[in-house]
Every structure is written in structure tokens, then in C-alpha cells.
């Protein structure tokens, strides 16, 4: 009993750092870079991906015994793009301005390798319950990276967090300048590179 408990705990906690989908498995990098200029769209994107990933994992695990191996890829595509279309409609209805900021990147969850990668690597061979935990765990691992990158980019790039100024005016008067580079594409690449470096150095022993 305690074994199965620890196994479930493993499935949930491993993707956070040790097998992080973005930093270790290189899955789903595109959106991690593109939507992280500000914290708010990053939060919405993380929620979206976690929901889609968990639901697709559970659905695939439920129907895994009825799908012939040869057409499984197209089945993933159908399930995932239906879920993404739903997510897109919901975003458009409730948070229209953020859905405009995210633009094509909600749609690109379909080709986000995390979703399909987890379906192929985990959901096809596990029970729905485990697939649910795996989806939540990987979603959380993705969200951590996304939020960290967005946090640094918004804080140092524009001196704001969630749209409110946090860097005090006194600091600007003393000559502090926002680093505009972080708002642009190269800043995203550098921050994620540095994050990978830090996590590699800190957790070297655990892998």
C-alpha cells in the first residue's frame, strides 16, 4: 500500500524539477518563450495547458484499449484539437483581451509536444487515475517554468508585476533603467538558458 502511494506521489512530483517537461525533456518550449513577456498571459496559458493536458491524458487513458495502434497519432490529434478549440472559445468568451494577447499560441497547444508526448509516453499504458496525476504533475512542471520566466521578464523588463509598478520611482531617480532587451525575443532565450543552468547545477545529484 505504501508502495503504491509513493508511486503516485512520484508520478505527481517528478515532473516538477527532476523530469521537468521544458527544462529536461525539451517539450513545449515554443509557448514557454512566446507568452512570457508579462505574468498575466503566462498564468492564463499555464492554466489552459494544464487543463488540456490533464483532460487529454484522462480521455486517452480511458479509451486506450479501444484504439488500434496504427491510428493512435491521429486519435491524439483529434482529442487534443477538440479540447483546444473548447479552451479557445472559453477564453474568447471570458477573458477576451488576454485571448487577443495569446493570439495563435492557444491554438498551438495542439502541437505543443508536452500534450502529445504525455499521451504517447504515459496515458497509453496507464490507468486513468495515474494519467490524471501525470497530467497535473506535468502541467505544474510546465507552469513553474512559464511563471518563473514571465516573472523575471516582466520585473526586469518593465519594472512591473501583473501590470502594476513594483520597482519604486526612487530607484529610477537614482539611475536604474529597465532592461528593454528582456521584453524582446533574445531575453526569453537567455532567461530560459540561465534557468536550465541553475537547475542543472542545483539538482545534478538527483538525476
Amino acid at each position: 500500500m505504501s508502495f503504491s502511494k509513493s508511486k503516485e506521489g512520484q508520478v505527481l512530483s517528478k515532473p516538477l524539477i527532476g523530469a521537468n517537461p521544458i527544462m529536461v525533456q525539451t517539450l513545449g518550449v515554443c509557448s514557454a518563450l512566446a507568452v512570457t513577456v508579462q505574468l498575466k498571459p503566462a498564468i492564463v496559458m499555464s492554466l489552459c495547458l494544464t487543463v488540456v493536458l490533464t483532460m487529454s491524458n484522462v480521455i486517452m487513458a480511458c479509451i486506450r484499449n479501444f484504439i488500434p495502434g496504427k491510428i493512435r497519432i491521429i486519435t491524439y490529434m483529434l482529442v487534443i484539437s477538440t479540447l483546444v478549440a473548447l479552451a479557445d472559445q472559453i477564453l474568447k468568451a471570458y477573458v477576451y483581451d488576454i485571448s487577443k494577447t495569446l493570439s495563435v499560441f492557444v491554438g498551438l497547444i495542439i502541437t505543443n509536444c508536452i500534450v502529445m508526448g504525455r499521451a504517447e509516453a504515459f496515458a497509453m499504458t496507464n490507468t486513468p487515475k495515474m494519467a490524471l496525476l501525470d497530467g497535473l504533475g506535468n502541467g505544474a512542471g510546465y507552469s513553474i517554468v512559464l511563471l518563473a520566466v514571465a516573472f523575471f521578464r516582466e520585473l526586469f523588463g518593465s519594472g512591473k508585476l501583473l501590470g502594476t509598478k513594483v520597482v519604486p520611482q526612487a530607484l529610477y531617480d537614482m539611475g536604474y533603467v529597465d532592461n528593454g532587451l528582456l521584453m524582446l525575443a533574445p531575453g526569453a532565450f537567455f532567461i530560459i538558458g540561465i534557468l536550465i543552468w541553475v537547475s542543472n547545477s542545483l539538482y545534478k545529484g538527483e538525476r
Binding site: 527544462m23 525539451t26 517539450l27 513545449g28 518550449v29 515554443c30 509557448s31 518563450l33 512566446a34 497519432i73 491521429i74 490529434m77 483529434l78 484539437s81 477538440t82 483546444v84 478549440a85 479557445d88 472559445q89 493570439s103 495563435v104 491554438g107 498551438l108 495542439i110 502541437t111 505543443n112 509536444c113 502529445m116 532587451l181 524582446l184 525575443a185 533574445p186 531575453g187 526569453a188 532565450f189 537567455f190 530560459i192 538558458g193 540561465i194 536550465i196 543552468w197 541553475v198 542543472n200 547545477s201 545534478k204
Partner: protein
């Protein structure tokens, strides 16, 4: 004027807003396959080829069937039909089907080309650059010819970026990278530097 507009679309999507270095599309295969120049070239060519065909194909489907008051439905006198919400499903199916067909055709008629490109074709279905371009033309409202040019030049832009990274990666084998940074970390830093280099095109107004 029309030609100038097309040239400007081409230059913009190759240099100024490069699909990979400015829009971050197609990162996964970019990071995985940029180990040597030959692989990078094969994948880049396959992406360009698929993009040049699927972008106009999706344009026809989008404007003929999916858009609000699309051509086909208006032809039959039906108005108020808007199927835009299934564009994700349609686009990805078109791409997956097309890639599958191309794979079979190439395998049948040109074994040499198949052995060069064949292994990359399945990877392309899940390359977000392909779906991204199809979603971008909807967003930007390009017409048919503009979409074709946009698809082709985005492919060229992607090819250029992955070739550049592959070349740098080959040279980097001989450099002394700090241990934690090796592999993925340094690849991101290099890509960041490349993207910075491409940013100097940003001042050009066409």
C-alpha cells in the same frame, strides 16, 4: 506595387520577424535536430516544402468553408454560417493528411529523396511552425498569393536559423562550456545571441 508588397512580406518573414527567432515557432525539432548540418538541411528543406503547400491549401479551405459567410456557403445562398471554431481541427488534419500523402508519394517515386527527407516528414506534423503559419495568415488577413509567399519565406527563414545553429553546434564541440550549461542550456544562449543578431534588421522599414 503588388510585387513590392510580396517582396516586403518575404523579407519580413525571413529576416525581421523570423518565424523561429522572433516568433518562437518550431522550437522542439529545432533544438533536437540541430546537431549536424546535414540533418538540419534535410529537416529545413522538408519544412519549407510542407509550408509552401499547406499554407495556401489551408487558405483555400479557410476562405472557402470556415470563414464567416465563406465562399461555398454564399454560393448556395446560405448566410450566417461561421465555422471558424473548428479551424484548429481542420488545419491540423489537413497538415497531417498532406504530410502522410507526401511521404507515400516520395517513397514510391524517389527513394533517394525519401531516404534524405523521409525520416523528417512525420516530425513535421507536430512542428508548430507549420500550424503557426496557417494560424498567422488568418490573424493577418493575407490573400492567396501573399499566403503562398508567406509560407515559403517562413520556411526559408526557419531553414536559415536551423542551419546557423547546426553550424555553431558543430564548432562548439571544441569549446569549453561550463558543466551545468552544456547541452540544452548553451543552445538557448546561442539561439538568444542569434536572435539578437537578427534584431538589427528590425529597424528596416519596408
Amino acid at each position: 506595387m503588388d510585387i513590392l508588397n510580396l517582396i516586403s512580406i518575404a523579407l519580413t518573414s525571413i529576416f525581421i520577424s523570423n518565424i523561429l527567432l522572433a516568433n518562437f515557432l518550431g522550437m522542439c525539432s529545432f533544438l533536437e535536430c540541430a546537431k549536424n548540418i546535414k540533418t538540419a538541411m534535410g529537416l529545413g528543406l522538408a519544412v519549407t516544402f510542407v509550408l509552401t503547400i499547406t499554407a495556401p491549401l489551408n487558405w483555400i479551405i479557410y476562405n472557402g468553408l470556415l470563414k464567416e459567410d465563406a465562399a461555398l456557403w454564399t454560393l448556395f445562398g446560405m448566410t450566417g454560417i461561421n465555422l471558424e471554431f473548428i479551424k484548429f481541427l481542420t488545419f491540423i488534419s489537413v497538415i497531417a493528411t498532406f504530410v502522410q500523402i507526401v511521404e507515400m508519394i516520395i517513397e514510391k517515386f524517389s527513394p533517394a529523396l525519401y531516404s534524405a527527407l523521409g525520416i523528417f516528414l512525420p516530425l513535421i506534423t507536430v512542428n508548430c511552425a507549420i500550424l503557426g503559419v496557417s494560424l498567422f495568415f488568418v490573424e493577418e488577413g493575407h490573400d492567396f498569393i501573399q499566403t503562398t509567399v508567406f509560407g515559403f519565406s517562413s520556411g526559408i527563414g526557419w531553414l536559415m536559423a536551423i542551419l546557423g545553429l547546426a553550424a555553431i553546434n558543430q564548432k562548439m564541440k571544441y569549446s569549453n562550456v561550463p558543466e551545468g550549461l552544456r547541452g540544452l542550456g548553451i543552445t538557448f544562449i546561442v539561439t538568444g545571441l542569434m536572435s539578437m543578431a537578427f534584431m538589427c534588421f528590425a529597424g528596416i522599414s519596408l
